[in-house]
Amino acid sequence: MRVRYFGLVLGFVLLLAPLSAASAQSLASLAAANTATTAVEKAGPGCWGCEQVGGYPVCRGGVVPGYYNCIASVLQTCQVSSSGCGGSAAVPLDPDGSTQYVSRGSLMGVTVAFHAGDPPVRRNCEGVVVARKQTSDDITTVRMRTGSLTL
């Protein structure tokens, strides 16, 4: 009975894994080709990287405050934003030139929460901004700098 229950749970987890991957691909549709060519990533100091374990890419490494890299997910699979996993070319962009993770406030479905004292900008191991918090002063500055442009 216990074995059957374990099998059910395992089946459910395995069922979720491709769903999670599919969601990631729809978020970053341009990444589809690159995720197929995942390379073994040598994790840098303090950064999360990707390793092949049993043929599957998994996230390994440390955590740097303010940095978001591989995201813990079902089966800890690599995601498109992580260096070496998805390839930097695959990062989906918004038309302001930022990554779309910034707009969504989440990375691969995981909400990026900002707590008091947190750095206002979160980056992945490549230094790419994946989440940010703008103060009212920041917003005023952006509007002032972009009110009139001479090119």
Partner: protein, 320 residues
């Protein structure tokens, strides 16, 4: 005698006028020079909405869509309406036509028409190989031009799709790997289709869809004083090129910061100016029928900015 002299003078004047007329018309249609952009109005977009593309229509109407399949319609008064599409449709391109919205699905290359009453009709399907993935589709007068990656051949391909006409217009050189297949943003201009390579060297190509002639503009990365260290280039991206007559504007974005470089090309396809901007802003498209440009700016959330543009001084004329 006097009558003959008058007629000869009249004839000469007519010939001179007619001789110069095409040049003047062309010059008026194709000018270049420094431009100034002044923000006119803004529209804050819903939170958590990543934009994949924008389509422009007459009277200032716009359609925005996300990779997740969300579609927003923006009318002349800048009010925003969310359109409901079936979950299975992820637009690679949208066109505003008198019949309704034409959509090209990214995964299946199927073309749909969303009528004003909300009903959806399947119009057809573009040719798409097993190893081909669509990046973007733009509506050009009477049909689609589809930018895709051929994963088997490791090339970027530009393909026309108008009923039975599905010929390839452009094929990039073969890449070393899947990861290095170039990706291009497509935009329309009066002189042809513009292809802006998203990653370094940010090549801009102007393609004549009729003759297939492809002109490569001066390289951005060859520009001295651009201020991007070579080892930082992988973190930079180009956004779509925008044509203001014969002037082209290209936004380069630093993914690690708010830094942008706005590059202006002149009529001779040379870079005339690169302007650095320390703010998260990207130019999206020229609005048809008016001297205005649409941009996206991050001010808390992502917002659209309508800019009026004008020549800073009398523009130089160019005969293409």
């Amino acid at each position: 005698m006097r009558s003959i002299a008058l007629r000869a003078t009249w004839l000469a004047l007519t010939l001179v006028t007619v001789g110069h007329l095409p040049d003047r018309l062309t010059a008026q249609a194709c000018r270049s020079g420094p431009v100034a952009l002044d923000a006119r109005s803004t529209l804050l977009l819903p939170a958590s909405f990543g934009i994949s593309g924008v389509a422009t229509g007459p009277s200032g109407r716009l359609v925005l869509w996300s990779a997740g399949g969300e579609v927003f319609f923006i009318d002349e008064k800048h009010s925003l309406t969310r359109l409901q599409l079936p979950d299975s449709i992820r637009p690679a391109g949208v066109a505003i036509t008198p019949e309704g919205l034409r959509l090209l699905d990214q995964a299946t290359a199927r073309e749909f028409l969303r009528r004003p009453d909300g009903s959806l009709a399947l119009l057809g399907r573009a040719r798409l190989g097993m190893a081909e993935q669509i990046d973007q589709a733009v509506w050009r007068r009477d049909g689609w031009v589809i930018g895709l990656r051929d994963l088997a051949a490791r090339r970027f391909v530009l393909r026309r799709y108008f009923h039975a006409d599905q010929r390839d217009l452009f094929r990039s050189a073969q890449s070393d790997s899947l990861k290095t297949i170039p990706r291009f943003h497509l935009t329309e201009s009066s002189r042809g289709l513009l292809l802006a390579r998203s990653m370094a060297p940010f090549t801009v190509i102007r393609l004549d869809p009729v003759t297939g002639r492809a002109d490569t503009l001066a390289s951005v990365t060859a520009l001295a004083g651009l201020g991007i260290p070579p080892d930082s280039l992988p973190h930079w991206r180009a956004l779509p090129a925008i044509a203001l007559d014969c002037t082209l504007l290209l936004t380069l974005s630093d993914l690690t910061a708010d830094r942008r470089i706005l590059v202006r090309y002149g009529a001779t396809d040379q870079i005339e100016r690169a302007t650095e901007l320390d703010a998260p802003l990207g130019l999206m498209t020229r609005l048809p029928g008016e001297d205005a440009v649409l941009a996206a700016r991050r001010a808390g959330e992502l917002e659209l900015v309508w800019y009026d543009w004008h020549w800073v001084r009398e523009p130089s004329s160019h005969t293409p």
